[in-house]
Symmetry: C3
Subunit: 138 residues, 3 copies
Amino acid sequence: MVVTKKIGLRTMGECDLIDITPQVRKEVSSSGINSGTVTLFLAGSTAGISTIEFESGLLSDFQSMWERTVPRSIPYEHDRRWGDGNGYSHVRASLLGASLVVPFTDKTLALGTWQQIVLVDFDNRPRSREVVLQIMGE
Amino acid sequence: MVVTKKIGLRTMGECDLIDITPQVRKEVSSSGINSGTVTLFLAGSTAGISTIEFESGLLSDFQSMWERTVPRSIPYEHDRRWGDGNGYSHVRASLLGASLVVPFTDKTLALGTWQQIVLVDFDNRPRSREVVLQIMGE
Amino acid sequence: MVVTKKIGLRTMGECDLIDITPQVRKEVSSSGINSGTVTLFLAGSTAGISTIEFESGLLSDFQSMWERTVPRSIPYEHDRRWGDGNGYSHVRASLLGASLVVPFTDKTLALGTWQQIVLVDFDNRPRSREVVLQIMGE
């Protein structure tokens, strides 16, 4: 059995992290599927999906890591050719990854107590985003 | 068809890598499912799942990469607010990712010869961990 | 329903990126499955799978990020013990990840307009690679 859902979001960009756990939980619980997996996929090349303990200290630490590893302030070939100014956003998204798969049993996600599912938007401006949820199982 | 299994482990923390390939192989082979995918998911926000050629040189190289990219010795907001001292563990886990999906056919995992599935525990102390295996297919 | 396909490729190594979107699209479209997920898995420990906007500026930016984060020019224990000279390739592959899961509906992949699926080969020499596609759904 396969059920497809979409979560629409407005993001602020610049490593904006949005906790989508409540929406994922709700869609899985109302899908009619008892056990299986929910595949979360971000359509787009400047954002990704991961999990984190969603507290403001860690959000800041996560953002600092990206600034060290894929800095905004160095030159990017993408920007030189296209003038988008978001070369760093693309590189960050490719490293983080566009998909996450979370198992569930008895309609309950296999998340840890302090583990939330997040959309991470690396783009350099506010965006409308859509996360696809493919819920599969029996 | 969906079969849920769990692998329980004791880890040492500080980028402890544990080869869980034998357990995954055993659970897939005894699941009654011939072809499909096994989704591995780590419930928790200071550890993750990946693959690596499991030899001691590379385990050390992998740990050195984490120490360069997300060092223990710099200040973290998470630690300042909560005093946990494991801010770096959280950031590393969010970058590595909590899920891995491995296809199998005729009960055989699609792994390379020198490719093992590993739990990576980034926490700053020994932990009890549980990896969820969602085995799906026909 | 489960359909297994394989994409065979010749790569050049040294962070060679190959756009495999057309092949994935074709296999999903001819699989007989309407809605579900395609799991892409790279068998091997020196390459991985991700998504990127496939234009030459970003390919270069992505390669520069790897050279900063996991440089070729520093010593690796793997190379000291085995003389392979590709310690950096292994570490990069473990960080990027071996699997990607893409949902599809009405035989259409949930990709963004500027988002392509890529095999990333980090090895230090040309290789023959095989990407496994596990297509599941109904």
